[in-house]
């Protein structure tokens, strides 16, 4: 290809022209143009499956096989590998962290590029010194000799950023960096991003959190269904107009009329405790949690990451290995839930937070995934009922609106929102009485989120008792009839719809100042 790309001014550091890419004949990107200028924070928005990640993977050399042209500093390039992209100054920080937990901060930063003595031995001292300098330059207060697995997720995220910048990246792509961060950690990250942009680094920032983008970005590009919708400075957008561009409709529906929560108590929990086994003996994770959930009611559980929210669900579902205490009653009868099998028999259902690691067999088809917990029930004299499995698979696809080519499509090829629907469908097929939802909309785009909300409301109306864990306060406030707030394994209070607000929840959720648990000042 001759260099026929016109140079669009010295400012544009990374450009894509007519970029297209399809997987197995399904187009993921259609003819997308994209310009990134030095020193700007450019937010890339779109629903799951809109093509954001695909575009970023092309820019960063993960997919060498695409149509259209990419240029860096006006020179056409075609990255055949991540390494080539790095050498051209493009670094990407993936949503999933890619650190070696057993190594320390400095070793991770220089992994694969260790400073050497005589070309053979690792120069440990130099690595530490360079890491210290790098962290200092970025204003990150971290010990370069701290092992990664002793750091919190937010701190690990900062290590990823330091690593990306250590290869003198001029173009930094960040894929949902804040999805696991606390508000304080987010603020610290934003100030670092701002600082980088001021120093001339061009940043592509992918996020589903619109407030965040409004706060941080200089300009916004919206993709929808693999096509470019709009690119404009942030000032010309409102939250609503971004959403409208993403979903292609004017506004989101919100909560329907308050669902009737006057049913009988289905799930009753008293003094639930959990002790996790550690090397130093038992460590108490839950200190006596008590609540009731009625049929048709949605109980929200709020709190910071690590406050014991997920542990409540896992203890109820019997999927934790720790020592359990307290009493669980279903329909007034005390039950013991020793394993997920017991839980399923008692018609409890748990939709886990991490759907890839804990929810799906990614290589298997939609119907195989949906039917998994129901196989034994469907089988007749030990023979699988393929018709029955196809039926409940199809029902899940139809009722939940899973967008797919058919129930035979492998679950791993679906977008995040649709994968989540498959996991929910798998549990609805068991006809549960109590539905436990752990971060049901994590990493899901706005449109799919609304569909999940509608679904949760519908299930509550149909008489399910629902327990919902979420980090997103607006989501809790929208969905939950009552909100139980956890902090450090302790139940801090239960808020009614009337008294619940973001401030009220945060007040209860904040850890009691005891030094060790308070977030470090930046």
């Amino acid at each position: 290809m001759p260099a026929d790309i016109e140079v669009r001014g010295p400012q544009v550091v990374l450009a894509g022209r007519g970029v297209s890419k399809s997987f197995l004949g399904v187009p993921a990107l259609r003819d997308v143009d994209f310009d990134l200028r030095a020193g700007e924070v450019h937010a890339l928005m779109g629903e799951n499956g809109a093509g954001k990640s695909t575009l970023m993977k092309i820019f960063s050399g993960v997919y060498p096989d695409y149509e259209g042209e990419v240029s860096v500093d006006g020179r056409p390039v075609r990255f055949a590998s991540v390494r080539e992209a790095q050498a051209a100054g493009v670094a990407i920080i993936h949503q999933e962290l890619n650190l070696v937990p057993e190594l320390n901060v400095a070793e991770n930063i220089f992994l694969g590029r260790e400073p050497l003595i005589g070309g053979l031995l690792v120069n440990r001292r130099k690595a530490i010194a360079e890491a210290t300098a790098l962290l200092g330059r970025l204003g990150i207060a971290l010990d370069p000799e701290a092992r990664i697995n002793t750091l919190r997720v937010g701190e690990q995220q900062l290590v990823e950023i330091a690593r990306a910048l250590s290869v003198s990246a001029r173009i930094l792509i960040m894929d949902e960096p804040t999805s696991a961060l606390s508000p304080a950690e987010c603020r610290r990250l934003f100030s670092i991003i701002r600082q980088l942009a001021d120093a001339g680094v061009a940043i592509i920032y992918i996020s589903h959190r619109i407030e965040e983008v409004m706060l941080l970005a200089d300009s916004v590009t919206v993709l929808r269904d693999g096509s470019h919708v709009v690119t404009a400075p942030i000032a010309s957008f409102t939250q609503e107009s971004i959403i409208a561009a993403m979903v292609g409709r004017a506004s989101l529906g919100t909560a329907p009329a308050a669902p009737d929560a006057g049913g009988p108590v289905v799930l009753s929990v008293r003094d639930l405790t959990l002790d996790a086994a550690t090397r130093k003996g038992w460590r108490r994770m839950l200190h006596g949690v008590s609540f009731d959930v009625r049929a048709g009611e949605i109980l929200g559980i709020g709190g910071l990451l690590g406050s014991g929210r997920t542990e409540i669900l896992e203890t109820l579902f019997g999927s934790t290995t720790g020592r359990r205490g307290g009493e669980i009653r279903i329909d007034g009868a005390p039950v013991s839930v020793g394993s997920p099998r017991d839980a399923r028999r008692l018609r409890l259902a748990l939709v886990t937070e991490d759907r890839k690691a804990k929810g799906l067999h990614l290589e298997a088809s939609i119907s195989d995934n949906v039917a998994l917990p129901s196989l034994a029930r469907l089988a007749r004299f030990g023979v699988r009922s393929f018709a029955g499995e196809a039926r409940i698979g199809q029902r899940a696809v139809d009722e939940l609106g899973v967008r797919c080519t058919g129930i035979a499509q492998p679950a791993g090829t679906l977008s995040g929102g649709n994968q989540q629907k498959v996991v929910i469908g798998k549990w609805l097929a068991t006809e549960p009485r109590v539905l436990l939802l752990d971060e049901p909309t994590r990493g899901i785009d706005v449109g799919a989120k609304q569909e999940i909300y509608d679904l949760v409301f519908r299930l509550a109306r149909e008489g399910l008792a629902i327990v919902l864990v979420s980090s997103e306060l607006p989501e809790l406030l929208l969905l939950a009839d009552r909100i139980l707030v956890m902090s450090e394994g302790r139940q801090q209070g239960v808020l009614d719809r009337a008294e619940a607000s973001e401030e009220a929840i945060m007040r209860l959720a904040a850890p009691r100042a005891r030094g060790a648990h308070a977030p470090k000042a930046a």
């Binding site: 055949a80 390494r83 099998r341 929810g359 089988a379 068991t430």
Partner: protein, 440 residues
């Protein structure tokens, strides 16, 4: 079209080996193609059936993302037990192992069967009522009646084998008892892996060593082999296991094909089979779906041991001896056949049909090399090369391979500052298709 080709590449491999065999085979004095003769092909089937049985059990274990290294030693134990039961009367170590194992297995199998029947009847009734939840059995049907049935079965089993202990065992005696010994050892593998939450590799490695020792101890210090002379020191019936059905089809081959057919159907048509795949695909998701992951795993290891036991029977019939060192290296042949058959060592992907083809590919290949009188050491080298080659074709397509090689050659990372990128001779000449590009 290309997809169809790549989905069926296993069969193409089998056909290719077959074709090479036909074309290069030596010709007998009468002008017949030796490779293609019925006698030769059925002989191949006879030769592969021991490895084949073991590979069949191994397939399910590997599908759960496990591995069973102990199968060779388990086959050896079972060959020793079988030979001793056939030739030595009284409470030999083999009888001490075999009789309780048989009674226990009879108890468990019949109890589980009765419970299964009750459970399915209850399910049919519940389905008629339109209820969707799992049915639960009451104590009578769920525990008491199965236990009683199991005890009856165990008593019947003892009544059947105890008289044989004082003399020597008959055909049916060993046919029933020996697989149970293998099954018990396999179940121990599974129980340790599940209860101890240990790596299958290390547990079955330990069992491989232990079982070899047990096999030698059972045989006794002075018995490197225990000869079995059917008709003189053992029952003549036992020769059935090495004979031909209808003077045509070798009995060991029949065992192998039956095992593939039955286990294949179980993996395809039962919930258990689906659980095997689900556990290999995502064990945590399977557990959270309410599947008894531990039980499924234990069963796969137990069946693997049982099939090793049957292989031990066939070994004794074939070579007229029980031998504590019989199974060394067999586990690796079996794993190779499974992997050639396209089953992923990571679990969750593969099928028994593939293993069947893998075993046949292996068998035809050995046969071919023998027909050509190729040096046996050279045969090992060729086999090794063919394993690697076949697996490469199974797992990767050619373009992918080439691009990997290209990348590893280019490994040294450019250390120049980013500004100097790209070197002017590079990228502009690139064409579509990352795998097909030559860069330099």
């Amino acid at each position: 079209m290309l997809r169809l080709l790549s989905q069926t590449k296993l069969y193409w491999g089998l056909a290719l080996i077959f074709l090479i065999g036909v074309l290069t085979s030596p010709v007998s004095s009468k002008g017949n193609n030796i490779f293609l003769s019925y006698g030769n092909l059925l002989d191949v089937l006879r030769q592969v059936s021991i490895t084949g049985l073991i590979a069949t059990g191994m397939t399910a274990v590997i599908l759960t993302a496990g591995i069973d290294l102990s199968v060779g030693s388990l086959m050896a134990i079972c060959s020793v037990v079988c030979a001793m039961l056939l030739t030595m009367p009284g409470w030999t170590p083999s009888a001490v192992m075999g009789v309780p194992a048989f009674a226990l297995v009879a108890f468990i199998v019949v109890a589980a069967l009765v419970r299964f029947v009750f459970h399915n009847r209850a399910k049919l009734r519940a389905a008629a009522d339109g209820a969707a939840a799992d049915v639960a059995l009451d104590a009578t049907r769920g525990v008491v009646l199965p236990a009683v049935a199991g005890l009856v079965a165990a008593a019947a089993a003892l009544a059947f084998v105890l008289p044989q202990v004082s003399q020597t065992f008959g055909l049916w005696g060993v046919l029933l008892v020996v697989p149970c010994v293998g099954l018990m050892f396999g179940a121990i593998n599974g129980i340790i892996i599940v209860a101890g939450r240990l790596q299958p590799f290390i547990v079955t490695l330990a069992m491989m060593v232990t079982a070899l020792g047990v096999a030698r101890l059972t045989a006794g210090q002075n018995n490197a082999v225990i000869p079995v002379y059917t008709g003189s020191n053992a029952t003549a019936d036992f020769d059935v296991l090495r004979s031909l059905v209808f003077d045509f089809f070798p009995v060991p081959g029949l065992f192998f094909i039956a095992a593939v057919a039955i286990y294949g159907a179980v993996l395809r048509f039962t919930p258990f089979g689906r659980y095997v795949y689900a556990i290999g695909g995502n064990e945590e998701a399977a557990r959270l779906s309410g599947i008894d992951v531990g039980r499924v795993k234990i069963v796969t290891y137990a069946v693997s041991g049982m099939l090793a036991g049957i292989a031990g029977l066939l070994f004794v019939a074939q070579y007229r001896q029980g031998k504590p060192d019989a199974g060394s290296g067999l586990e690796l042949d079996a794993i190779a056949a499974v992997v050639i058959g396209g089953t992923s060592l990571m679990g969750g992907r593969g099928a028994l049909v593939g293993t069947f083809c893998g075993v046949l590919i292996f068998g035809l290949l050995s046969n071919l090399l023998q027909l050509h009188n190729i040096n046996s050491n050279l045969q090992l080298v060729l086999k090794g090369l063919i394993i690697v080659g076949t697996v490469l074709v199974q797992e990767r397509n050619l373009g992918e391979l080439l691009s990997n090689l290209r990348l590893s050659v280019r490994r040294p990372a450019p250390k120049e500052p980013a500004d100097q990128w790209p070197p002017s001779t590079e990228s502009p000449s690139r064409q579509l298709g990352g795998s097909a590009n030559g860069t330099s």
